[in-house]
Symmetry: C2
Subunit: 439 residues, 2 copies
């Protein structure tokens, strides 16, 4: 992509309405613009990141055999009256009346709709387990939206639902999802630590929040420092072997990690330098809730003994749009964003120090073509403006690699290659630069 | 994908609520389920088709240099009051009041929001033309939703917007989009004919509806039969050469094509057998509307002469979810859907005639693995049920190729290869079958 043809309205000034660094940087980097309180338009740079995150989330859901579908944003009130949540949900639910005076709502979550789909189509124990997910915009009418996309009103969420015949099977579905979450966040280049969470009146131990450590996080968290170096990619785990998977989950969870809700200093098994006390951002939550929805809504299957049984369910959320902000909170410096490779909007930023100079233009076109041929996403700053502004913008938007092309270097047969994360710069031949980037 | 692990609730009975064939087939093939009037959940098979169409639409927008972003579904009423459409739009607009009693709405279209983004970020003639698009769910509260996804209330639409400094430049943007639309529909495997449409009080000739011929279409259309064989891929056209592109557009539009709104029998230049009179489904609309929004909303740029000028705009829509139904209307037979290759949810259906038979299972696993290795999407019917039901389901869901594996054939070293569109079947070796499919 040529920057001259890309819609990238960066800002030099720090917008006064932004209280936290991710919000400031997303506005400054031209990633989002607020349309009204807690509601954002995703400009091209931001939308590229959002889609990359979404795609990684999707691939890891697919990998555990979860089926993707798409439920609509608008839901009928009747389903929520059936589950008993229509009155309970409170003012965060955006309630709407359509032209025929029917009560509808903008879905804040989808337990009711997915249970309705399930109960109409699945009738026998032979058709479960079912794992279904979608990635869809939701709306929660937060009384005081803030922190940009981190606590917006309209937000993109992946929510999955499992349906099983009994607790053991449901626990296996939960464990699959636990593995998928560990792998998802590993691929996203962040450490999201699963912490025991409240199960409410349902009880049991099947509820975990995945939390990214960040000083700007919304809540206090505590964990064993062993988490920092723990490999969460689940290499070699056999998804379909219940015992093997359960073993891996238990081993992974053996080290201490708790939110302030669950943490009790006097009972904490870790202490001193081994205990990390910091803040965290919740980016995922997995939760087994048994028959909470299947019973009132009549989602039953015929068991092997010929009797109808309500299915055991779980729900599994990832805040996709929130993750964009959370990743920035976890990875930035004083000059801007530092994107992990997998979610960077482009892998390489190509800076032409002297647009209009024949040698510089020709060299840049050559590099641009080679990177495109190698299927490496590149943003080519071909704008006719001063070098200082180009450097600042490129650091601000945080692409992993920068190739800087100027007349002096070209005269010596070199370009400058900069690694955004380490800040390391080197003068190398074009071939060496492309090599290092992997082109 | 193994069918035993895929959520595909097909129906034998024809649902009584469906009046047109695409609606019936989408329900029977387990592609969608209605949640409430005009609002559908997209089940996995349907969602795969929707995403394939969306991706083709996206690629052709990107190819003309249109920048993708994403605007939210919920919009503030104020912007519509500025443009003057808040009162005009009528009951089709879903009007909402949030918890702070602010007037908001579920966007039925996005001219106001994109104009707002533009006016805040673009200030100079040097920053135009701008071509921006998004693919987002919209809501129109139709008084009587019907025909399934063809006239639903919540629907997926690609809408693009152009911003130019003057009419000539705006016309060039329009022509680029005209080319992108021709290419998009060609890739989708349907003939969508651009027909002159009403420009309302704005006048001029820059408004075309793209219409798929189908007897179940909503309106009468008339066109020269030369359209049927016309190549609309725009091969060799130079996007950036205004004259070249304008020439191609004019040549393409030289043959007669008009909706009943515009058709006048007595003035029609085509007659007799040369004139096709049938019905059509509108799947796209491109429209130049000048300064209709930029003037009231103050979307101006500083011209080269130092004076502010309101930008010339156009909008360009494609009904993405509607296209799923339209493609089925244009391509089905008495047994079910016949997908064009590019949008088929899977390219190949693999039928195991005797699940549980060692030889059949082994052969199918082998074929399944080979197709997956060749990156060919395959749906493997590994269910333990009678062959008749498998054949019927596979014809119903309309995958382009079927490979049928049974014990008799295997004994002779052959499988059956069926082309869904032509109905042609042949007994061939596995290698020959894979060859023909392109694996």
């Amino acid at each position: 992509m040529r920057l001259s043809q890309f819609f990238l309205p960066t800002l030099k000034e720090t917008p006064s309405e932004a209280q936290i660094v991710s919000h400031r940087l997303m506005l400054r980097a031209g990633m989002v613009r607020q349309l009204s309180a807690g509601i954002y338009s995703w400009l091209p740079l931001g939308y590229r990141v959002l889609k990359k995150i979404e795609q990684i989330v999707r691939e890891e859901q697919d990998a555990i055999g979860c089926n993707e579908l798409l439920m609509p944003t608008i839901q009928p009130a009747e389903l929520w009256q059936e589950s008993g949540r229509y009155e309970d949900y409170g003012l965060e639910m955006l309630r709407i009346t359509d032209r025929h005076d029917r009560n509808i709502l903008f879905g804040p979550t989808n337990e009711e709709v997915i249970t309705d789909i399930f109960r109409k189509e699945v009738k026998s124990y032979k058709q479960v387990p079912q794992l279904l997910y979608h990635i869809q915009w939701k709306f929660r009418d937060e009384i005081r939206p803030r922190f940009g996309v981190m606590r917006g009103r309209e937000f993109l969420m992946k929510d999955a639902y499992s349906f099983d015949i009994d607790y053991e099977s449901s626990r296996h579905s939960y464990n699959k999802m636990f593995l998928a979450y560990c792998r998802t966040f590993s691929r996203l280049g962040v450490k999201a630590i699963p912490m025991v969470a409240d199960t409410g009146p349902i009880g049991g131990d099947l509820s975990h929040e995945f939390i990214i450590l960040a000083e700007t996080g919304e809540s206090e968290v505590f964990c064993d420092k062993t988490w920092l170096d723990k490999d969460l990619t689940g290499k070699g785990v056999d998804l379909n072997d219940r015992t093997n998977l359960e073993g891996w989950v238990q081993t992974t969870l053996a080290d201490y990690a708790a939110t302030d809700e669950k943490h009790e200093a006097e009972n904490c098994p870790v202490s001193g330098d081994d205990l990390i006390a910091t803040r965290g951002i919740e980016v995922g939550h997995i939760f087994h809730f048994g028959t909470k929805y299947s019973e009132p809504m009549g989602a039953t299957v015929l068991g092997p003994d010929g009797k109808d049984v309500p299915v055991m369910m779980g729900s599994y959320g990832i805040g996709v749009s929130r993750l964009v902000g959370a990743l920035i909170e976890a990875s930035h410096d004083e000059n801007g964003i530092v994107w992990p490779e997998e979610v960077a909007p482009f892998r390489v930023g190509l800076i032409n120090l002297r647009t209009g100079d024949d040698a510089c233009d020709a060299a840049c076109e050559d590099i641009y073509g080679k990177l495109k041929n190698a299927k490496i996403d590149v943003l080519y700053d071909d704008r006719d403006m001063r070098a200082g502004g180009k450097f600042a913008d490129m650091d601000l938007i945080g692409l992993p690699w920068q190739i800087v092309v100027g007349p002096k270097g070209l005269a010596n047969g070199v370009v400058e290659l900069k690694n955004r994360k380490t800040g390391e710069r080197s003068e190398v031949t074009l071939e060496a630069a492309l090599n290092q980037i992997g082109a």
